[in-house]
């Protein structure tokens, strides 16, 4: 029983981490809460529904397409809708809310309100100690690890990634060093949507796909980002895994709603006692 809880928790935690990574990217760099984050997740899942479910593409190709579709929508949104509003926080946030409801209603009109499923690309389970581990979730977890590692490498070892960290820490100093915030925002937002899209695409065979599937994503992402610390990739990973484990335990022992309340309680506790999160830097 215990090992099942742990395995479930870790598997879920890895997916949560990818959800949170994109969110913390935009939050940390642009100081904007992207309310449409869940909808970009949904867009990735919808792409898999189309390409893999209806058009018969290979699964991983559909997943990649999901990421790309989300990223493209994200780039358009950033250029046309967010950039004019970036100077103030609130209008930017409300705009992402506008994007969220527009995307949600567009999905509603195109796909209809009911949830759909797609055939599972990987069936069967394997045993780890006395826990039953489904293969499809294992694949998701492995892909998540690849994505997280690639992302971390990008941040630490490429010029763009380092520039992004600089802008996240101190916008003014970064611009003095010749880093143009605007360009960084485009990359940050596009990358965030890419990650969200990939997460949604990977999860498409596991959870039902519908226009409202993105609603819960922001809450999870927010909890993880607060727990792990704003702007910290290791923090997002640690937070994702911890939340995954905690939810798995509480959900198994009580019910999923209690798990969510427990997460919220953790967030409140962190804000009261350690606002920078487990691994974050102090926010100015």
């Amino acid at each position: 029983m215990l090992s099942q809880i742990i395995v479930n928790g870790l598997l879920a935690g890895l997916v949560y981490t990818i959800m949170a990574l994109g969110f913390t990217l935009v939050f940390g760099i642009m100081r904007v809460v992207n309310f449409a984050h869940g909808e970009f997740y949904m867009a990735g899942a919808m792409a898999v529904l189309l390409f893999y479910g209806h058009l018969g593409w290979p699964f991983f190709a559909a997943v990649a397409a999901g990421g790309v579709v989300s990223a493209l929508i994200g780039l358009v949104v950033e250029r046309a809708l967010l950039r004019p509003l970036l100077k103030e926080e609130m209008p930017g946030m409300i705009m992402t809310l506008a994007v969220a409801i527009t995307m949600q209603s567009a999905a509603l009109l195109i796909v209809g309100p009911s949830e759909q499923g797609i055939p599972r690309p990987f069936g069967g389970t394997w045993m780890l100690l006395d826990a039953r581990v489904p293969w499809d979730r294992t694949v998701v977890a492995l892909c998540a690890l690849v994505i997280i590692t690639a992302f971390y490498g990008f941040l630490k070892f490429t010029p763009v990634g380092l520039a992004m960290q600089a802008v996240a820490q101190d916008r003014e100093t970064a611009s003095l060093m010749g880093i143009e915030s605007k360009r960084i925002y485009v990359v940050a937002f596009g990358l965030s949507c890419l990650l969200a899209g990939l997460a949604g695409a990977l999860m498409a065979p596991i959870y039902p796909i519908g226009p409202y599937m993105g609603e819960i994503v922001i809450i999870k992402a927010f909890v993880i980002v607060i727990l792990g610390g704003l702007g910290s990739v290791p923090g997002a990973m640690l937070g994702g895994l911890l939340i995954g484990l905690c939810e798995s335990a509480v959900a198994t022992m009580f019910n999923p709603t209690a798990a969510l309340i427990a997460s919220f309680g953790i967030v409140l506790g962190i804000i009261i006692f350690r606002p920078t999160g487990l691994m974050g830097r102090a926010v100015r």
Binding site: L85, M93, A98
Partner: protein
């Protein structure tokens, strides 16, 4: 255009339902008297640069609070209406200092999470709230022995509530409290360096706006007679944000106009209900980019703070 004229025009508009004596109009008008206080009280928070996504949840707390107190404990409706508002205010007072502790964006997310969780509790605690099937059989409102049965009675009740809350918020907006809020929003560092207790003002605004939302919830409960959790979720919040954005956030006249515009919309768009959200999303975007000051700006109404 003088704001006074607009307010007077709205006051005149308020008489229309009685003239037309049409049940349909009375319903829309009564819903407006519930949503105007909701939108204007949210505006109070917007004035200090905070976006309270918990506003729907506080309306719900007031709603279920008032309904349950009357139904389960036999509390007279007038007292439970008040109690509903006080419950909302107390919870806001409890969580406010924590939510408002860090920068504005955290507040948005915390209130968002809070709202979602309250909603989930409303759905899951079936023995208390009836869950998604609804809480039925809320008794009619009664005051001083007089039971409100006809829809026009509830419209009158709503009008009184709207007038009182609008009057209060209007007075606040035009007073030095409004000036202090503006100062906090425009430059918090300076305001604090002068001794302004920005945190205390924020919590006070949060408590007051949540109180009004709680009372609105109570009025809603007695009027509709049945409660379901989805009345207090993100749909309502989106409506309120649209009202404030299209109406114009600088003054409470904006959300009042926005509410008058938005409340009838679902009825008018009855055939094309699915398009409603799409229209909201697009309008929101358009107004944010092109008409930031909303209707208030388009009509060139004089705003508070245009003193000297």
């Amino acid at each position: 255009m003088k704001t006074r004229y607009v307010v007077a025009a709205v006051a005149l508009l308020a008489v229309v339902p009685w003239i037309l004596d049409n049940r349909y109009f009375f319903h829309i008008a009564t819903m407006a008297t519930i949503m105007i206080p909701m939108a204007t009280s949210m505006n109070l928070m917007l004035k200090i640069g905070q976006l309270p996504l918990s506003h729907g949840a506080f309306m719900g707390l007031g709603s279920y609070g008032a309904a349950l107190l009357t139904m389960r404990l036999g509390v007279p409706p007038v007292l439970s209406l008040l109690a509903g508002g006080l419950i909302a205010a107390a919870i806001a007072g409890m969580f406010g200092p924590i939510f408002l502790r860090i920068k504005g964006t955290y507040f948005v997310l915390l209130t968002f999470a809070f709202g979602e969780i309250v909603n989930l509790i409303m759905q899951d605690w079936i023995s208390l709230t009836g869950g998604n099937s609804g809480l039925y059989g809320i008794p009619k409102f009664a005051i001083l022995g007089f039971r409100l049965t006809a829809i026009r009675d509830y419209y009158a009740m709503g009008l009184v509530f709207t007038a009182l809350s609008f009057g209060l918020l209007w007075a606040i907006e035009r007073s030095d409290i409004g000036a202090i809020f503006q100062s906090i929003n425009e430059n918090e560092m300076v305001t604090r360096s002068l001794g302004g207790n920005a945190m205390a003002w924020r919590v006070a605004a949060f408590v007051l706006s949540s109180f009004i939302a709680g009372i609105a919830g109570g009025v809603y409960a007695f009027y509709i007679g049945l409660l379901t959790p989805d009345a207090f979720g993100m749909r309502t919040i989106v409506d309120l944000i649209v009202m404030n954005t299209i109406g114009g956030p600088a003054s409470i006249v904006g959300p009042m106009l926005g509410a008058i515009l938005i409340v009838p919309l679902p009825e008018l768009l009855r055939e094309a209900r699915q398009y409603q959200l799409l229209i909201y999303g697009i309008s929101l975007g358009v107004f944010l980019i092109f008409f930031r000051q909303g209707l208030v700006g388009l009509l060139r109404l004089d705003k508070p703070g245009d003193k000297t």
